[in-house]
Amino acid sequence: MKPVNFDYARPADVGAVLDLLKDDTRLVKLIAGGQSLGPMLNMRLVQPDLVVDLTSVTELKRIEERADEIVVGACITHADIEDGRVPDVTRGALPKVANGIAYRAVRNRGTIGGSLTHADPSADWVSMLSAVGARVTLRGPSGSRTLPVEDYMLGALEADLAPGEILVSVTIPRLSGQARWGYYKSCRKTGEFAHAIGAFVVDPERRISRAVFGATESRPVVVADARHLIGEVDRTAPARDFDAATADATLADGGMADALDRQMHVVALRRALEQAR
């Protein structure tokens, strides 16, 4: 369980990272907290020639709070969000989800950018940040681009990262005072990979109603206008309008063939609604 021998670089800024990525004669892997890449390196599933440590790049550990959103650097950890070192703009949604990621010892190193780029379908951030409507900003040799979190993930373990590009920040919109959210994941053991995730955000003031089925075997199934699926999210009976048949059909259309699998995802979204905050 030892990785192959690799070279190590710790650049000071994004420009230096991009320079290192230009070398296409070597297999270069970026590492932030290393909580997903570390195990894969130890198991030699990944055998890079060069590992580039992003954690000395101060830009990637910065946060910038604006009137209607907050921009968090790619190397912000789950614990930073859980503990409130990153101001919460989501009415408790992100701290609560962060609190449920793996274990505290992992959350102290694992990062938001690393999780999104690793693109494990079972990970929490890709599902919850899709529900919230967050965007990622990438920087590469030909400049910068911004895209929705759900578009950044292309499939299992595959992010939309062009050669030489890195994820620099995640922009999270501020939910209004009326916004409500829910998140439920089904795990056989606490902290392990989820088998089904349900998440939703409704924000009438911002005319948003989004629902997400996560922990599929590929990208999450995002319903950008979920009014027909989850309805009003009533204050006293939040799951009252939930349409399980539509949820099941949505998953079937999304390519989920196994009925049991669909059932788990339908239940996950229903429970997310029942636990609406």
């Binding site: 710790r10 299992a156 373990l157």
Partner: protein
């Protein structure tokens, strides 16, 4: 080798280690601090948990070089720590350990629970401790010990510190050392040796392809489609193995088949995983049934993994004259290092995308038969991402069409 200097239990500790050396090995091998235990060595069991800059972290998946300048506290450094002292007494009292292998990690995580959680229920404690596995006690004693220490401390008016006292952003242990972009003395493994192996691998795989008569693939996938060409044309196409292979993204042949035997390679890239399988394939064709098989096996020397795959095809007349129905069966088995990646669903997702692309390319190639147009380009390497984009766009479009009743 690179000198890494850290503060361990209050003193400076420096040693020359390879960049791949994780923190637990650094401590155990160079500092003789063997209280940090290694269990699973991939971040699951929690035995190696220690404090980095005062907060718990997994030392088996944290590289020492990434913690340059950080403050590390191991179980040996907690001898005089107030909470750890109380926990040791409570673990003894409540039978919180038997063999002791998990105990150093348990104490570090338990200390964090005592420090951060104000008034946790038994359930809260079990959830918070779920990243530390114990195979002896059944956890009852461990949970009781933690409950006891918390009740006692809160009774003495000591409040919890929910953020554990951490003030800075980013991964624990990072940000202490100056940036270094070490150009390094060249790649860790010489490129030449990596290039030399495929031939050898192909030779080893030769026997395997032959011995494969009774082999059944782990995963199979069937697909049928119809093309607007006569059966004879399509049957001839399948006889040109090189063209069929080129429909499989990343696949290439070393030459034309000799006696139904051909050497080839396939490159696959899935997220951080890159594999380059070199091997051989056996080709059989049966004129009578208009069916054939291409059975290949190959090895990826870098990951020491092997794969075997079979493509079966049957061509028959379609519903109208001049049309041909093609039934394709694709199966594969993966063994070795890459197969350890025990997330079969993800492997299936990737395989489905690869096979989907193969069938698309096959249809496109066949559609171009005889119309003089150049054959469509095929990716030189299977990149799950770029393929996914195109395949998924279709799926999404269909999905929304169904959902909102419009195309």
């Amino acid at each position: 080798m690179k000198t890494v200097a850290l503060t361990v239990n209050g003193s400076v500790a420096a040693a020359a280690v390879e960049p791949r050396t994780h923190l637990a090995d650094f401590l155990r091998e160079t500092q003789n601090l063997t209280g940090t235990h290694l269990g699973c060595e991939h971040g699951v069991c929690g035995a190696c948990t220690l404090l980095i800059d005062g907060v718990p972290a997994r030392s088996c998946i944290t590289f020492a070089a990434m913690c340059e300048g950080a403050e590390i506290t191991t179980i040996e450094g907690l001898d005089h720590d107030e909470i750890a002292t109380e926990l040791r007494a409570a673990f003894t009292r409540e039978h919180g350990l038997q063999c002791g292998y998990c105990t150093p990690g348990m104490i570090v995580s338990a200390r964090d629970v005592v420090l951060r959680l104000e008034d946790p229920s038994e359930h809260d404690i079990r959830v918070a401790m779920s990243g530390n596995l114990c195979r002896c006690t059944g956890y009852v004693g461990i949970v009781r010990a933690i409950q006891g220490v918390i009740a006692d401390r809160r009774g003495r008016g000591i409040r919890a510190i929910p953020d554990g006292g951490r003030q800075v952003l980013g991964p624990a242990g990072s940000g202490h050392a100056a940036a270094t972009v070490s150009p390094a003395a060249g790649p860790a493994r010489a490129a030449a040796s990596a290039k030399a192996t495929p031939r050898q691998a192909a030779a080893t795989a030769t026997g395997a392809a032959h011995a494969g008569s009774g082999w059944k693939p782990q995963t199979t996938f069937n697909q049928s489609f119809t093309v607007a060409h006569p059966v004879d044309v399509v049957w001839d196409f399948f006889g040109r193995v090189g063209e069929v292979a080129s429909c499989l993204p990343g696949a290439s042949l070393a030459g034309e088949p000799v006696d139904g035997h051909v050497e080839g390679a396939i490159k696959v890239r899935v997220g951080p995983i890159a594999a380059d399988f070199h091997g051989v394939a056996d080709v059989t064709r049966d004129e009578a049934t208009r069916s054939g098989t291409i059975i290949g096996s190959g090895k990826d020397s870098r990951s020491n993994s092997a794969t075997r795959g079979a493509i079966g095809y049957t061509v028959k007349p379609g519903e109208s004259p001049g049309r041909t129905r093609v039934d394709v069966t694709i199966g594969f088995t993966l063994t070795g290092m890459l197969a350890q990646f025990s997330r079969s669903g993800l492997v299936q997702d990737v395989a489905n995308r690869l096979i989907g692309a193969f069938v698309q390319n096959l249809e496109a190639r066949l559609a171009h038969q005889g119309d003089g147009a150049p054959a469509p380009a095929v990716a030189a390497e299977f990149d799950a991402g770029s393929l996914m984009a195109s395949l998924f766009r279709d799926r999404i479009r269909r999905f929304f069409a169904r959902l909102f009743g419009r195309a």
